[in-house]
């Protein structure tokens, strides 16, 4: 009884983004210890969705003022959230508790980790862990080629230190098959985890200017780094050849580095645990990632660079969403969970658990140097080779560089990845590829910063406008009411009649008119529901036709394709079934039920069902199981991947829709029932067969209903949401093959709260619906038979 009362009085601390699974004993212990020390707080680590936090849910919750108290986030995205006002500033907390040696403070964390949590001079998160990248080299392979290395003037007992050394080693260590394909790769620039970021950091690149307003992706430093990557690929025979090597048959053999197929790689500390597990005898060498020659010898523009070696560092951190109900408790939790004691407790409990399972993974490095030292002393791998690797990772952390804190972080990532692809494959020159990416990022930066140049606008215009419209409408109504020549009785009756309309009129004003006016207003403004709207004129529409044109067109083409096939085929299926069911034969009710039931299956359930019916794995999916035992041997066609492939996703989607075509059955049966029987009897006397009867009687008489079904079907298809949303969540429909307007709008609206743009998109959709319906009405003249 007592414990029940205590439970009721506890404050609940709701944490998103870091669930405690059955394998995460360390995390669990840390939470339990926290609850033991703070008996008044109950930690609720609620996991939304697939083990990962859903950004749309988080943003919706923050804007809706019901956020969790604490979230666990990749530091890389902190600036993006912060720029939207989604997170609390933590500077005051830090300052207040500075005296407490456990409390987070910049002096107690690695500078890279701490700085990455800052955006425009304020602190928005506290780092939990860090990662970084080093060069791993295969000592055995170096030894095996010692002679060749020596004759090239290279030392086989140490790793390369500069870019040119790295390339020279790679050249000697690479081997090729007789057909010219790669047998062993010395070094692949983007094999482990380096991307352009690492090399660019080594070249002192910064991607953005210090104010974060201008993108320097095409700067000289970035160009130098990308040129080095390209040289690395060219040395192996080009980008394409390396791709083939990485995806070829040997890719299935397991880790290519541990298998001796790649001599050197740059990779992060998170790969250590797997290496220890799968390559216990492996002779791994660890060294700082090689740097530009000038940097190593401290000459040229590196003459004043402090660090000889630099690495790229990232990791996770804790942030408190704006409007969190228990911000103080959240801060208490952050203080505990990032403390050395908690970090060591986490690792200790995790180690205990893993030992019982015969494994010995390395704990993730803490963002506090002191805690890291404690971890190393206590948990360093027993194998000295790997202990040295971990040491190397830790030693490099102080000279870590981090990706710029900017709200365009994701875009910068996408743009740089595209540039690497294009430059290394030779599609574009290094400079041109980077320039293309830079322009893309700059456009977004300009768009966001141009916000300030637009005038503020009074946010209550829509409300006022709604009242004006209602006022004008009401006044007009009042006038015609006055003018109407009604006797007292009819006037009284009219008045009571009008009262019956009140619920709808109120609902119309609140749930239709006001939202419409608001939406129209927002289509011309820029806001994210947390800041004051700015009047941007036609900018949102210009965006629909500019930066986002490709995406918008793509989504419209997709939805037209789906509707263009789905609606006519749906009508065809529905009508065919209705024609079959029309007759009075035995058991017709049972058949009718069979055809009708699929249409009442909830969208979610049918999506789950079809995802598995159509799964590409023929040992689990019914359709492909049937395919491999019939069509494949008969026609020599391999089974398609259906929803998992870009080409087949749409046919699969349409098929799934057809399954529910029985929903229209009721309508078709009624329409068929209403057809005059005399016409059929007469036509039989004329010797008409069933087919002729259909084309001369049934089809013309049904055409108004077909028209109705087409119009409504199109309007409905254009608004398709549930299935597309679920499929994209399940990772189906690659390369945007099921990118549809409403899910896109949903994302823009509830994930980014890009309210202006989402509203413009909504009105575009409305316009499309209107035009399409208009066209259908115009065309209907030619084929719909109207009753005369």
């Amino acid at each position: 009884m007592l414990s029940l009362c205590a439970l009721a009085e506890k404050r609940s601390l709701l944490i998103w983004g870091r669930s405690v699974g059955p394998e995460e004993k360390g995390r669990e212990a840390v939470v339990q210890e926290f609850e033991r020390r703070h008996p008044d707080i109950h930690v609720n680590m609620f996991n939304l969705g697939a083990g990962e936090m859903d950004p749309q849910k988080l943003m919706t919750a923050i804007v809706g003022k019901v956020p969790p108290d604490l979230i666990y986030q990749d530091r890389f995205s902190i600036a993006d959230w912060a720029s939207r006002g989604a997170f609390l500033k933590l500077d005051d907390f830090v300052k207040r508790d500075m005296a407490d040696p456990n409390s987070p403070h910049s002096s107690r964390f690695y500078p890279a980790a701490w700085s990455e949590c800052q955006f425009q001079g304020s602190l928005f998160a506290i780092p939990q862990n860090v990662d970084d990248r080093i060069l791993y080299w295969n000592r055995a392979m170096f030894r095996a080629k010692a002679k060749e290395l020596r004759s090239a003037g290279l030392d086989p007992d140490r790793a390369p230190r500069t870019w040119s050394e790295l390339l020279a080693y790679s050249k000697v260590l690479s081997e090729f098959n007789p057909d010219g394909s790669i047998k062993v790769a010395g070094f692949i620039p983007n094999f482990g985890n380096s991307w352009l970021y690492l090399y660019a950091f080594q070249a002192n690149a910064n991607f953005l200017d210090s104010a974060g307003r201008n993108c320097n992706l095409a700067g000289a430093e970035e160009q130098e780094a990308l040129a080095f990557m390209k040289a690395g690929y060219d040395l192996l025979g080009g980008w394409k050849k390396v791709q083939l090597f990485q995806t070829g048959p040997q890719a299935g053999l397991g880790n290519p580095f541990l298998k001796g197929l790649v001599a050197m790689k740059i990779d992060g500390d998170w790969t250590l645990s797997d290496s220890i597990r799968f390559g216990p005898e492996f002779e791994a060498g660890a060294a700082p990632p090689p740097v530009p020659d000038d940097r190593y010898y401290h000459r040229g523009r590196y003459a004043n660079s402090k660090d000889t070696f630099v690495t790229w560092s990232g990791g996770f951190s804790w942030a408190i969403p704006s409007g969190a109900r228990h911000a103080e408790d959240a801060w208490t939790f952050i203080k505990w969970v990032t403390s050395e004691e908690a970090v060591v407790l986490d690792a200790t409990e995790q180690r205990k658990w893993d030992r019982r399972r015969g494994r010995e993974p390395v704990p993730r490095m803490s963002a506090r140097p002191q805690a890291n030292q404690a971890l190393y002393d206590k948990f360093k791998p027993t194998n000295p080779v790997y202990a040295a690797c971990w040491k190397q990772h830790m030693d490099l952390l102080p000279s870590g560089r981090f990706r710029p804190s900017t709200f365009v972080g994701q875009l910068l990532w996408d743009a740089h990845a595209a540039a690497v692809d294009k430059a290394c494959s030779g599609e574009l020159g290094v400079k041109e590829a980077l320039q293309e990416g830079q322009d893309r990022v700059q456009r977004e930066l300009d768009r966001v910063y141009s916000r300030e140049s637009y005038p503020d606008v009074w946010p209550y215009w829509p409300l006022l406008l709604t009242f004006v419209i209602l006022g004008v409408g009401g006044a007009g109504w009042f006038v015609i009411w006055r003018k109407a020549p009604l006797s007292a009785y009819w006037r009284h009756r009219a008045r009571s009649g009008a009262w019956f309309l009140a619920p709808w009129i109120f609902g119309f004003a609140v749930f239709t008119l006001y939202p419409m006016v608001t939406s129209l207003f927002y289509a011309f403004s820029d806001t994210n529901a947390m800041n004051n709207p700015k009047w941007v004129g036609m900018r949102n529409f210009a965006e629909l036709n500019g930066a986002e044109k490709e995406r918008v067109t793509h989504s419209l083409v997709n939805v037209f394709t789906l509707a263009g096939f789905g609606v006519p085929l749906g009508i065809f299926t529905g009508l065919s079934i209705a024609l079959l069911l029309e007759s009075k034969c035995r058991g017709i009710k049972v058949y009718r039920t069979f055809f009708y039931i699929p249409s009442i299956v909830p969208g979610i359930a049918s999506s789950v069902l079809w995802l598995w019916l159509l799964t590409p794995k023929s040992d689990q999916g019914l359709v492909n199981r049937a395919w491999v035992s019939t069509i494949e041997p008969w026609l020599h066609l391999p089974p398609p991947a259906w929803l998992m492939s870009a080409d087949w996703a749409k046919p699969a989607f349409v098929t799934m829709g057809l399954w529910g075509a029985g929903g229209g059955l009721v309508m078709w049966l009624a329409a068929l029932k209403a057809l005059p029987k005399e016409l059929y009897e007469a036509s039989v006397l004329d010797g008409a067969g069933p087919l002729k009867q259909f084309w001369t009687i049934t089809w013309p008489l049904l055409s108004p209903i077909v028209f109705f079904a087409t119009t409504m079907g199109f309007v409905g298809s254009l608004q398709e949401f549930d299935r597309a949303y679920i499929f994209s969540k399940a990772g189906a429909a690659p390369s945007d093959s099921l990118l549809l307007p409403v899910p896109e709008l949903f994302n823009q609206a509830f994930r980014y709260f890009n309210i202006g743009y989402a509203s413009a998109l909504a009105w575009l959709l409305f316009l499309v619906v209107l035009i399409l319906t208009g066209i259908q009405f115009l065309l209907s003249k030619y084929w719909v038979v109207r009753a005369e």
Binding site: L48, W477, W504, F511, Y591, F594, F595, P690, F721, V769
Partner: protein, 486 residues
């Protein structure tokens, strides 16, 4: 014998163009008048245009050979059967012809309803399979097999039942401490699977745990009592424990259904949902409020439109009809902002309050039905001194009960299936309706088809039962058919 087949491989664009050409040709061939011709062009325009836009000029086209293995006797039988039937239909008596047509129809009906019910049958069958078996044997069709399990009290490594967060849970011991406590790990319910805590040993009671039966190479039957991290297993054969490897035995399976999938699904749900009961409660509450709201308000407004004359009525009615064309997407975001300013996010209110202000389609529909009731009825009542509200409530509404029930059912089902609103407005499990719960479950256990299918069946079953119980009202919609109710 192999039946050879020849067919072209074309890119999708070419197929579409071929399809549209076929449309045009067949309609032109059949067409008697301009109208049919025009409709053929309309029909052909879509695939044609899309085909043209998707056409890649470099796409290759080729002819490929294939073959279907058939036995000659079977082929002969098929040819004879079809040929005989066709001849019979063509030249038989008129009775024979109609019998032939009836048979055709029956065959198509049987095949069609099989095709349409197959996915659901598969859904139910898969929900009763073992997820492991599904992945291992590729047993997509055929009778499911399940491992034979047995409740077993292991004397060496006992399972216990103990209180955790006010509920009895089954635990395994990880470590025992000298102070009379033990570190234990939760096994059941699944939502806490792997949670460890320290329990008082005196409060733990020994319970059996389910263990699989295995057949040893010698033919003896044993139980797998314990599994060790190194892959070895302790197998108990007639009371004696032996340490064995996986290769030393095979699991005993039997044909049967795995009903445990259903309980397992429920035990995976977060505790706060009380095994999903809260989802159900939310959905039922929403269904109830939406049904009441929409029936009451829509019929009231429809009554106003149908039975009263007042200036501006037609204009208002046209306004009502035109709101039906407005895509929901336009009002989605402003709606959220309205509910946000009311502080209704993460409550159920945004999902039911709007229902109390009428829905355009239902008002439109009900107005037609009010129009069908003779006006004399309410005039007579009015002369007797009935107020308009009384006329509406006591005279007209009872006349409408079939269509009201139909509307109630469609509203309820729409609510049951509704997903988008819940996705936007609810965050905490306490406020989630069932469809959203299913979607979250789907994300959580995405790799286990059997569990997903079981969850789907759980969501689907009530609605199917409701459908069967009220089937005649669904078909009642036939009378709305002319109006185009879906």
């Amino acid at each position: 014998m192999k039946l050879p087949i020849l067919w072209p491989i074309l890119s999708a664009g070419w197929w579409l163009i071929a399809l549209s050409a076929a449309c045009v040709l067949s309609c032109l061939w059949r067409a008697r008048d301009k109208r049919t011709q025009a409709s053929s062009y309309v029909l052909a325009a879509f695939p044609g245009l899309i085909g043209l836009s998707a056409l890649k000029l470099d796409s290759e086209a080729k002819i490929q050979w294939g073959s279907i293995p058939v036995s000659p006797a079977f082929l002969l039988a098929v040819i004879l059967g079809i040929g005989g039937a066709v001849l019979f239909g063509k030249f038989g008596s008129s009775q024979a012809k109609s019998a032939w047509r009836g048979a055709q129809r029956q065959v198509m009906l049987v095949l069609g309803s099989l095709l349409f019910s197959l996915p659901l049958v598969w859904l139910v069958l898969t929900s009763l399979r073992d997820s492991d078996e599904l992945g291992r044997n590729g047993a997509v069709v055929g009778l499911p097999t399940v491992p034979v399990m047995q409740m077993y009290k292991d004397p060496i490594w006992p399972a216990y039942s103990v209180e955790f967060e006010n509920q009895r849970v089954r635990v395994d011991t990880v470590e025992t401490y000298p102070d009379g406590t033990a570190l234990v790990e939760v096994q059941e319910p699944k939502v806490w699977l792997g949670r460890t805590f320290v329990a008082d040993r005196s409060k733990m009671t020994e319970v059996p745990r389910p263990v699989p039966n295995v057949r040893l190479k010698s033919g003896e039957i044993g139980l797998v009592a314990q599994e060790f991290p190194d892959g070895k297993k302790r197998v108990v054969v007639s009371g004696q424990s032996r340490m064995l490897k996986d290769t030393d035995f095979t699991p005993v399976v039997k044909n049967g259904f795995k009903w445990e999938n259903y309980t397992e699904v429920l035990s995976y749900l977060p505790r706060a949902t009380l095994f999903g009961l809260l989802y159900l409660k939310n959905t039922l509450l929403l269904g109830f409020l939406n049904v009441i709201g929409t029936l009451l308000s829509s019929s009231l407004v429809a009554y106003g439109f149908a039975r009263f004359q007042f200036p501006g009525k037609n204009a208002l009615f046209i306004l009502l009809l035109s709101t039906m064309m407005l895509p929901g997407a336009v009002t989605l975001l402003p709606g959220f902002l309205i509910f946000k300013s009311l502080g209704w996010i993460d409550t159920l209110k945004p999902l039911w309050v709007p229902a109390f202000f009428g829905s355009a389609f239902n008002i439109f529909l009900l107005r037609q039905f009010f129009d069908r009731i003779p006006k004399e009825l309410d005039e007579a009542a009015e002369i007797d001194g009935c107020s308009p509200v009384r006329v509406y409530w006591s005279i007209l509404l009872p006349q409408l009960h079939p269509i009201l029930i139909t509307l109630a059912l469609t509203t309820f089902m729409g609510q049951w299936n509704g997903f988008q609103g819940a996705l936007i407005y609810t965050n905490s499990v306490e406020n989630m309706p069932i469809a959203y719960g299913l979607q979250l479950f789907m994300g959580d256990r995405s790799g286990e088809p059997a569990l997903l299918m079981a969850a789907s069946v759980i969501v689907l079953a009530p609605i199917l039962i409701l459908f069967f119980a009220t089937q005649k009202y669904f078909m009642e919609k036939i009378s709305l058919g002319g109006l185009g109710g879906k």
